[in-house]
């Protein structure tokens, strides 16, 4: 027989003014199984909590119902109080007689009746509550950081410096990401390489970090604290241990006219190449799609010149497996290229370039050594038009969001151009200037006021080439949508920042969700910005949404803090509100028939197959099993299960069924159980 205590809170006047709390307590005292029922001014106060604790001891309670505010408010408070008094916290539930009753109804008999109903329902639930115990999951204290851009680097270093092992996987031959391509960074105009390269080197040298470049994720299985990852190390065709990075091979390689990815197609590289001089690791790769030997079967020049015999034409992809406890996704973003814009010539005009290309032109290590020159003829452009929101905020282009970084980098570009080409004219067509951020607005004002960048508020309808000039047609909406036509030498499109190619497949491999634009989805837009819906997988940087460097770094440190917190314990404790598949005596073993319809419905891939075997090893039956590490407790499987073989702890079939029964059986409230 249950021994339930009911505690009705007045919440000062909040409940007491509308609901006759004394009467509620009296009525509840009459419910069979309730051995103690009281009301008090403030249940959540210390004296209130002590009342509960004392009652648990004095009356030997087996369940506690607090009729007060929303469980979303004070459930943890009261459960903790119960635990302190030696009662399993999951035997305590709250009836919401404030938000759902006293605050939304007038003072009346009916309102008090309703409060009694609400408490009675919870009494019936608690009667069927079972003691639950937090789930302990062991934690492998190694983190996987996916992506070697600034976000990945920051996350890896923070985790490694906290004393945990990190495996970093980067798909290109070097870490550094987009930041390594940038010339100077807003709003301070400090050189991107200068602040980034020391970090890159630190990653390579850190004893806690294992770096896999030119590698991709093959698969990820398991759950928080206990993932298994398979990493495909693509064949570099170079023995990394022997290679000294002398660079002789890249100098001698006869195939030199391959557009360089690092220089955004404005510079050239050889078939065996190091993406850029400061690359980490400074070891070349052979691009097998362009290498003469791989295409035609002869050449092998690099092999001949290599002083350490490090070239390996027959190298194959290898798979590395590792156990890890947490993942940080920092795979970054991409930008739309000029060929996405029919109105600007589908990329046909060489002097219509995107923002990353301008970064390379402005970079001291770029193809023009930092001089601003037109890609078509190498002349210094006298007039440059910058077009902000190229693609972004444009539903017709399918990109409705703001790419966030363009306002600032476009101001920076115009400023850099004005610094480098004296007397050059810089125009920026913009929709709005979004310069929210520390020193950002000041930076834009500087571009306008000190560097004479001309801002035109309006959109560019068309760019076309005529007699060696790019004619930019737009409108100036501040002058009453007056048409504007500018003869430019170069046009720079601040193209939309978009998710990486393959983001969708990666998300599916990692079991994380993504939004309509293929950016990875955070678990909560405000309160869980670095978590994903999959426990143990975190987000950092622009793979979640377009971000600038400080934001990416901040989020990376946030993700690293989350990982470090996870790794601070040997075991992980989780709420036991999870689904379980029942077990019963032979010959049934479980009422589960193994149809696995629940498996398809589970949003977390938490349902596994478990084989029940006899002592001799013969398979008796295969049934579903819920992985307690993965289950988040939504209960979708429970509603799908025909045989009621799966149940949800804390919201069991028995509990919710009793709630429905109790709710409507006002007259039979005293009928007993």
């Amino acid at each position: 027989m249950s021994r339930i205590g009911v505690f009705i809170c007045h919440c000062g006047e909040n409940i007491g003014a509308t609901v006759d709390c004394e009467r509620v307590a009296r009525a509840c005292a009459g419910i069979p199984g309730v051995v103690h029922s009281v009301d008090y001014k403030y249940m959540c106060s210390d004296p209130g909590q002590n009342m509960i604790k004392d009652a648990i001891r004095d009356h030997n309670l087996t369940g506690v119902v607090v009729g007060a505010c929303s469980p979303r408010m004070h459930e943890p408070t009261f459960r903790r109080a119960c635990e302190e008094a030696g009662l399993n916290p999951f035997l305590c539930e709250m009836a919401n007689i404030r938000e759902h009753c006293s605050w939304v109804h007038e003072k009346s008999e009916v309102t008090t009746e309703k409060a009694i109903d609400l408490v009675r329902v919870i009494v019936e639930k608690v009667r069927r509550n079972k003691p639950l115990f937090p789930i302990k999951v062991p934690v492998t204290k190694t983190a996987l950081v996916l992506g070697g851009g600034i976000a990945g680097i920051q996350a890896a270093l923070d985790i490694a410096n906290a004393g945990h092992k990190v495996i970093m996987v980067e798909r290109s031959p070097s870490i550094g990401g987009h930041m390594s391509q940038l010339s100077e960074t807003f709003p301070t105009l400090d050189c991107s390489q200068c602040i980034l390269t020391p970090r890159m080197v630190e990653v390579a040298r850190h004893p806690n970090i294992t770096l896999h470049t030119y590698s991709e994720i093959e698969s990820l299985d398991g759950f928080i604290g206990n993932f298994k990852v398979k990493i495909r190390k693509k064949a570099r065709s170079v023995d990394e241990k022997l290679c000294t990075g002398c660079g002789l091979c890249t100098q001698k390689c006869p195939t030199k006219k391959i557009p360089s990815e690092f220089d955004a197609g404005l510079g050239m590289r050889s078939a065996i190449y190091v993406p850029f001089p400061q690359a980490v690791p400074n070891k070349p790769v052979i691009d097998r799609l362009h290498c003469t030997f791989f295409l035609k079967g002869k050449c092998r020049l690099c092999e001949k010149v290599c002083p350490t015999q490090a070239i390996r034409f027959d190298q194959e992809d290898t798979i590395v497996e590792a156990d890890i406890g947490a993942v940080v996704l920092a795979t970054g973003f991409d930008i739309k290229h000029a060929d996405f814009f029919p109105e600007y010539g589908y990329g046909a005009y060489k002097d219509v370039i995107d923002g990353l290309q301008f970064e390379r032109l402005a970079s001291a290590s770029g193809p023009t050594l930092g001089e601003i020159r037109r890609p078509s003829d190498g002349r210094k452009p006298e007039t440059v038009v910058f077009i902000a929101c190229a693609g972004s905020r444009d539903p017709a282009k399918g990109i409705e969001y703001c790419s966030k970084i363009c306002c600032m980098y476009t101001a920076k570009h115009a400023m850099l151009y004005r610094h480098k080409v004296h007397g050059g004219k810089a125009y920026i067509f913009y929709m709005d200037i979004r310069a929210g951020g520390k020193m950002y607005e000041e930076f834009v004002r500087r571009a306008i006021e000190e560097d004479g960048v001309r801002y035109v508020r309006g959109r560019v309808s068309r760019v076309y080439e005529r007699e060696g000039k790019l004619i930019v047609q737009g409108a100036d909406t501040l002058l009453g949508a007056q048409p504007v036509e500018i003869e430019a030498d170069m046009v720079v499109l601040a193209t939309a920042a978009v998710a990486n190619d393959g983001a969708e497949e990666l998300a599916q491999k990692m079991h994380v969700s993504y939004d309509a634009y293929k950016f990875f989805a955070e678990a909560h837009p405000k309160l869980k910005p670095v978590e994903t819906n999959t426990a143990g997988i975190f987000l950092a940087g622009a793979c979640q949404a377009p971000k600038d460097i400080p934001e990416s770094v901040a989020q990376a440190s946030g993700a690293a803090a989350k990982v470090s917190a996870l790794f601070s314990q040997d075991e992980l404790t989780r709420e036991p509100v999870i689904a379980v598949v029942n077990r019963c005596a032979p010959p049934l073993y479980s009422t589960c028939v193994g149809c696995f319809l629940c498996q398809a419905a589970c949003p977390y891939q938490a349902i596994e197959k478990e084989e029940i075997r006899a002592r001799d090893g013969n398979l008796i039956k295969t049934v579903a099993k819920v992985n307690p590490g993965l289950c988040q407790g939504c209960g979708t499987c429970v509603a799908v299960c025909r045989t009621k073989a799966i149940d949800l702890q804390g919201f069991s079939n028995e509990q919710v069924f009793a709630e429905v029964m109790a709710l409507l059986n006002r007259s039979e409230a005293n009928a007993g159980i």
Binding site: R72, E99, N533, Y604, C634, G635, A639, L648, L663
Partner: protein
């Protein structure tokens, strides 16, 4: 004879509609007291049999409410629920059960006012329909 007061049972998810109803309270928006809420983690958890049970136990109307599509705390529980309700509601209608008495809605944690509106309109609609005599009659056959 006093006016008929319908009894409405609401099955709601914890993360959106329950929180939305909390907000109705915090905002002190008044609504009809004829509704009583049963909390579930997710609409995906709500067994269709519970709706029948509510009718059998004397409910005149039912509200089922959860997170808007794409807002589910568990990513997709509400999508599964929606399919279940589409089919279940059709079947009930086909069997002559009055689906006007079952209101489905998406109420987010920010839609306190919408919750009050959903409750009030459902109560009024069911009040017009009167007590669910058909179902009560067969429920009595079961001795309920």
């Amino acid at each position: 004879m006093p006016e008929f007061e319908p009894r409405i049972v609401a099955f709601v998810c914890n993360w959106c509609t329950y929180a939305g109803a909390d907000l109705t309270g915090t905002s002190r928006i008044k609504y009809s007291p004829n509704v009583e809420v049963i909390r579930f983690p997710c609409t995906g958890r709500i067994d269709f049999m519970l709706l029948l049970k509510a009718f059998a136990e004397g409910a005149d109307g039912i509200i089922v409410s959860g997170c808007h599509p794409n807002d589910c705390h568990y990513t997709s529980g509400n999508f599964h629920a929606r399919r279940r309700w589409i089919l279940f509601r059709g079947l009930l209608d086909f069997m002559g059960i009055d689906v006007r008495r079952v209101q489905f809605s998406w109420v987010s944690a920010a839609e306190g006012a919408k919750w009050a509106d959903v409750v009030n309109t459902t109560v009024e609609a069911v009040r017009k329909l009167g007590p669910y005599d058909n179902y009560r009659q067969i429920a009595r056959s079961g001795g309920v």
